[in-house]
């Protein structure tokens, strides 16, 4: 089984890279993992303070609605932004010296962010208990996360491979992420706003966040079309990402 051994080694390499990256980031830091939590939690706290009375008033379980949206978006944002800024730039000499599977550099970033996402989800679970919602729903998050990770991995591969060709992708992407943050119903709800609804049909994050909220916060089955949308964007992103990365990676060592 050549394939199995390859994937095992690939996974181990990605994990090693993620661990190393994690240790380097937290070197000499007393807060460690809490630094990662701090950003989404402060954003959450601030938004809750600002919006809970007005915008969030007609959204039931607004704190949970908001927090789940914030942490899911944060996972997407930190993985993709790091892929754009660091994969090829910080590892250029490594890429020029050893012929290892390049995808593992992207996988390591997703794994590292998955690790801190895990803590955010634990925090979210504490909130579920606090607001007396059903804790069972969180079990649905595992399958959702498998789709979401594949989606994020695909987007990250796509972006990372393009950075070899476009140096200012970093700026473009940080702008795009800000637009996505405002365009995705994270701190507001989309209900009844037709224009916004149609725009969001093209926004993959809308599907993932909606499925997660329906199942976990509201304990109801999401619309079939939303589930299909989630699966569609996962497959699209994963395969397009792998394909583009694979096509472009043979030139990485020369381009960077």
């Amino acid at each position: 089984m050549v394939g199995k051994k390859y994937f095992k080694n690939f996974f181990e390499l990605s994990l090693s890279l993620a661990k190393a990256e994690f240790k380097l980031r937290n070197e000499g830091s007393y807060l460690g993992i809490f630094w990662y939590l701090l950003n989404p939690l402060l954003v959450f706290g601030l938004l809750l303070l600002v919006f809970s009375d007005r915008l969030g008033n007609d959204i039931s379980q607004y704190p949970l609605y908001l927090l789940l949206g914030v942490v899911m978006f944060n996972f997407f944002q930190s993985s993709t932004v790091e892929s754009v800024t660091s994969v090829l730039k910080e590892n250029r000499w490594l890429i020029k010296s050893i012929n290892f599977p390049r995808e593992s550099l992207v996988a390591s970033i997703v794994l590292k962010n998955l690790f801190s996402h895990f803590f955010e989800i634990i925090f979210f679970m504490i909130f579920i208990v606090f607001f007396k919602a059903s804790i069972i729903g969180i079990l649905y998050y595992l399958p959702i996360l498998i789709f979401f990770c594949s989606f994020v991995f695909g987007v990250s591969l796509f972006l990372a491979s393009l950075t070899a060709y476009f140096v200012d992708l970093e700026n473009i992407w940080s702008f795009a992420v800000r637009l996505l943050w405002l365009g995705t119903p994270i701190f507001y709800a989309i209900d009844g706003q037709t224009k916004l609804y149609y725009v969001n049909l093209f926004n993959p994050l809308y599907y993932f966040i909606t499925v997660a909220r329906d199942l976990i916060v509201y304990a109801k089955m999401p619309d079939v079309s939303i589930i299909f949308g989630m699966i569609f964007y996962t497959l699209l992103s994963f395969f397009a990402g792998v394909l583009v990365f694979n096509t472009l990676k043979i030139k990485f060592a020369e381009k960077i």
Binding site: K96, S97, N99
Partner: protein, 244 residues
């Protein structure tokens, strides 16, 4: 042991475009699509090169700076793709091209062994199994838990080389590896190389250390400025190179 051809280089060429294009932003690239003007310069790093390396051989590659030695090694390693010709390799390739590479300064030696080991394609079990050998060979036992930014260049070289040979290469590519180490370790490394070569591997050694090349290589290839090759007995090629 029966000899197999581990590396076959068949008429390869490699060109590089040197220009501004590498650092262009999306907008500039878009504009240049229409203007069609892009300042570029073509550099032929390698032209129509052919040779092969069999198991049991140590082949030295010499040449001036910029003659394409590192490009050649990267092509053998599969890091660069040739523009023309073919490269066929048999077996596991380990390349030590830039020593500091892969090693993370702010991690300990132990953590680095695990990281670089997996970059060389070793599984976690293999690294665990080889760990003591690596530490012993590098003679850096008392520094296992030291962060390696405190290491000297020679110590890093010891570490990188020790990990590379423990990864059980069939093809070992060494690009200016022995330029920083001390004589004792050089001697020990060469003995180790001899041993893995006797077990059926092959080694390509790029070096400016002419006495080393002359003494230990079975064959030497000199890449000249005009991209032609002089191949042959180490002492002959090296003396020709010195005269040039």
């Amino acid at each position: 042991m029966e000899k197999i051809k581990r590396i076959v280089i068949d008429n390869i060429s490699k060109k590089f475009m040197i220009g501004y294009s590498n650092n262009m932003g999306a907008l500039a690239r878009f504009v240049s699509l229409f203007s069609g003007k892009e300042p570029k310069r073509l550099i032929h790093a390698l032209e129509n090169l052919s040779f092969d390396v069999s198991s049991g051989e140590i082949v030295g590659i010499i040449g001036n700076n910029g003659s394409g030695k590192s490009t050649l090694v990267r092509i053998i390693a599969g890091i660069y793709y040739p523009d023309g010709g073919r490269v066929i390799t048999k077996g596991k390739i380990i390349s030590l091209i830039n020593l500091i590479v892969g090693l993370k300064e702010r991690l300990t030696m132990k953590e680095n062994i695990f990281l670089v080991g997996s970059l060389f394609g070793m599984s976690q079990e293999e690294i665990k199994k080889e760990f003591n050998n690596i530490v012993e060979f590098s003679e850096l036992k008392e520094f296992v838990n030291t962060k390696i930014y405190q290491f000297s260049a020679g110590m890093m070289q010891r570490l990188a080389f020790s990990i590379a040979v423990s990864a059980k290469p069939d093809i070992l590519l060494l690009d200016e590896v022995f330029e920083v180490g001390d004589e004792d370790f050089k001697k020990k490394s060469v003995d180790k190389i001899r041993k893995i070569v006797e077990d059926g591997a092959c080694v390509v050694l790029v070096s400016h250390d002419l006495p080393l090349v002359e003494k230990y290589c079975d064959r030497v290839i000199w890449i000249k400025e005009d991209k032609s090759l002089i191949k042959g007995e180490p002492n002959k090629v090296v003396s020709q190179y010195k005269e040039d």
